[in-house]
Subunit: 337 residues, 4 copies
């Protein structure tokens, strides 16, 4: 085994599922007007509105980081801040993009076990008095499923969002792995009612070519949205190619059905995992306790995976992960344990 | 005829050419590491380096506006400005994106006939004394082919670039329609020698799914380039899908071959155009003098086209434009003349 | 005569008037809380509110450019633009600061004679349809007195502001020379009723040490104003020193009384000006037609003045300009005519 | 005792020392050219260059936050970060201004006792590999005297700066309380040799009206500095009023002489402080362990002081603090102990 195998390094290492490819090919024929004004984009947005049971302005971006950063910059002024789990993707893995899109907008790290925000931590931040020398919270960013492979209950998300809304603050939901949460039982139609203003609905990690849906549920925030996207380098001219994948993902339920497969593969891996699990396996990722020598041995066996900020080593499953591959990894893990 | 026909509204209304689709499908198989570190991205970059005969750092973005704005922000500090033709895309059609990416970086409009910068206009700007109350020029942005469908000679571009380089300023080349310029005889391998620091090489309008190549010819400007892109929301996780089209475009010469077709279609249209041409037809666009009633009659016949800032009405041809369609439009134009 | 004399180069070349110095000295005693929370700042703000007959949030900055840019960034989003006279200070003399404070916010130049915006020019801009590729107007910036030494009538300002307000857009008033307009008959108390959202009331050019008052008349725009200022590097710790001058300027009417003197000196100079006046002399500045040889001769006589964007040569009077100095300049001008 | 007494709340609550006022009054006479091109500004810069024994470009700002943020934005690109003590003023008290000036530039918090950076903490950060998802360090920000009233030895500062320089990174020195460090024995002339690129030399807290000196020791960073300042809202037209205080501060040694008094007052207070000191008293501040009831009792006695991020309660002395006042506070502290 010579080349490193990235199969479990992330859920973005997989290609696009057949349904997405088919939709892309279908969208490729004929002429379409530019900048997202085409019929493919309209149909994709309709499918998302239907899935969410919500009226919303919807656009598509190639980068989840961009969609998240645009959302945060929309919800908080530059001299304000967004509160998020200290290990949320927007805090740790997006290279300061919120500050770029938000002209220096701040981030406030909240604590909580296994990637879920502790309501007490949020309350403490929300209760801080406004002072001139600190960027005060103006919005809350949630992540479902979380960065550590856990899934909030609807009630837990509603409580957190409610704390922010009670102060008139905005709420963002990073749904890069929302499909996995839905596959785990989370109700997509609950998002609007709990007060989320902007949802970033993940396509890429769910098994698409690059596309994320920027879903503006609070339409008062959508003024001149196309100009905002263009100004920020996020409006592509041939918009149909970012929209078409959503037809493949949603028209026949592939988005959540294939996420259920990814979750099942994670469970299958958990069942044979010799290393201790550090977080509950509720979606498509496992986080285990593994020392450096063991990690080294695993990489020598060809499997490349990352160590995370909390010290754990992460294994991600995707729509493309096969039971055979899981079992092969399981065998390798047992050998190095 | 009920629906508006956008066939000649822009060269971005066409779908992707077969070579691009084939390359995308080929790239879709298997697992790939993320954020542009994959083999598809490496091969696409190699093909571009070979085409340019240049060592360069190369990345891919979904938006040409973003690639241009990133380039300008790399070449000029926020308190400086970039000089460009007053009708260049970066000045008139990118919604202020350079100011967003460049934290308020300025733009200085230069004059010149048919979209080509008059060297005297550039000299006048370059000779202005530095004063604290004005953003001084620090870079020059060129466009090849130009916004008005003309093509600079190599000597003309070299002269303009040379004026900027002589002051130590950076040079950006917006090549959204570089394929059309190459098809018109421009030598791709001349770009490096004339001192271009950053080239944005157009894929989308040439007939691809969304992708533009950010080509950093001056590698001293590429420090921590991936972090720069990620920070600016321009690094997609499944990078192979922005890179693969370039294999389709370049591996067998489709990029310039199909641009030659687009140019030929523009010439065919010019030969039967009853309205006066306002600019030479050197690439894939025609700009004609047409009053509002005539434009209205044309739109009633179903053809949607834009009126431009210089008052002309624009017709664009693409890789997908057929001779039959050109002749059909020609017939319609003669009827409304 | 060896050293250049800057007396007429600008109204910012003069020192501070005695009333300002006295107020500064008075404010210097004792201890004061920081960041504008002190009693001096409170009293200065009260005096401004009384002068304007308006409830407003008021802060003080050392730079008029900063106050203007902050105001524009408050009134327009980064993907929007502010319309202003094409020769307004914010457009031509502030080094792109609006774009810096506003993360790339745009400026749209309006035309009109002698620095006054032509309502038709404004209407044309306001009537432009929203498109994704252009930053649409979201606010109007007015200047009173104008950059060319003219003074809008109250009715004219009200008409312009009204056009913007009718579309729900914000209105900024650059009052760097508001004192001179008031001395020329403009009613300070008319500003609120005409719909100005943010006024920058000039102290420096009126004869103060550095201070401008940022007057937020539309208090819904003042949320977390101190944090906004601090974030933008505009909240000084010893705030009393930017506030105290306003007590000197306003407590006994020195602000407008000394501006009346400056205006009178401009009129005195106009009466003996041999060069043709290019704009009406309504405040404290004269703009004349003078060719380069004549300007050169004047500079050789020691008087340094600037040529402006409209080609005119500008002479500015201040609170400190004496009749003797005016007559001396008049004599010099006649000699070189 | 009715009004709160802020005498020990900060060293910015004091007025300006007589030497500063005298220099201001002296600078007020006559006409001066604008934007820092005047003779007062030239002389002030000369005095600073002499004090530092360094060739440097020097400008003056009204806000230390602005000067710091401008410095950091000059040393690190938006997609990079500045490493600083986690409790440094730029990290905790400047409302995210670095992110505003630096278009989202990052901050990396370093640890170390009593406000001094632990070299190991810096090394760990500097040794982190470059990855696309994180803003890498590009500069180091030091503070002398530190936020907790301690003073680095010259050797300690040199070591830290050297670690950054060895990687080609920039070094910023926040000298808001540099006068107190100098009074404590730190050699001003050592700053250049240790590799500091940009020094912000504090005037305000040393006993001036608002002014900080932005000292660009690495002159390659000073290109178009006035335009940079103007663009960022930091170039005042009557520049002499930000420069003149430095003549008062430096011409006769008042800057460090009066800082020595402030330090002595802190020592005097320390000698009678009943509450435990949490950091060494090396400059003009004391940080003590005091629970909430005790702090409440102290405030009831009229003394307003702040609790800091590390839990301590801070007492600051200034040039204006009298021995009598120190003793009065000491008595009050003993009463509430």
């Amino acid at each position: 085994m010579t080349d490193a195998r990235y199969d479990f390094a992330s859920d973005n290492v997989a290609g696009a599922m057949p349904e997405v490819i088919e939709a892309m090919l279908s969208a490729n024929s004929g002429v379409a007007s530019g900048y997202g004004t085409d019929q493919v984009s309209a149909r994709a947005a309709d499918l998302i509105r239907k899935a969410l049971d919500a009226d919303a302005e919807i656009r598509f971006t190639a980068s989840g980081t961009a969609a998240n950063a645009l959302a945060l910059a929309t919800l908080a002024a530059p001299h304000e801040a967004v509160a998020a789990h200290e290990h949320a993707h927007v805090c740790t893995d997006e290279t300061g993009a919120p500050g770029f899109f938000g002209s220096g907008v701040g981030l406030i790290g909240l604590s909580g076990p296994s990637g879920r925000i502790d309501p007490l931590s949020l309350k403490t931040v929300l209760d801080q008095p406004d002072v001139s020398y600190r960027q005060p919270a103006a919005a809350l960013s949630l992540t479902q499923a979380t960065e550590y492979g856990t899934v909030y209950t609807e009630a837990a998300l509603r409580e957190l969002a409610g704390l922010a809304k009670a102060r008139g603050y905005g709420v963002h939901l990073d749904g890069a792995r929302l499909a996995n949460a839905v596959a785990a039982g989370f109700d997509l139609k609950a998002i609007t009612a709990m007060g989320v203003d902007i949802l970033v609905m993940g396509g890429t990690k769910a098994g698409s070519t690059p596309t994320e849906a920027l879903v503006i549920l609070n339409k008062s925030l959508a003024r001149r949205l196309d100009a905002r996207l263009k100004h920020a380098g996020q409006l592509v001219s041939k918009g149909r190619y970012l929209a078409a994948p959503w037809i493949g993902l949603l028209a026949d339920g592939a988005w959540s059905r294939r996420a259920a497969h990814a979750n099942a593969m994670a469970t299958r891996l958990a069942e044979q995992m010799p290393f201790p699990l550090l977080h509950p396996v509720e979606a498509n990722g496992l986080f285990v306790e593994m020392d450096e020598p063991a990690l080294h041995r695993l990489r020598q066996k060809g499997f490349f995976v990352y160590r995370f900020l909390d010290g754990s080593v992460r294994f991600m499953c995707s729509w493309a992960t096969t039971p055979e591959l899981v079992d092969e990894l399981g065998e390798a893990l047992r050998q190095i344990f």
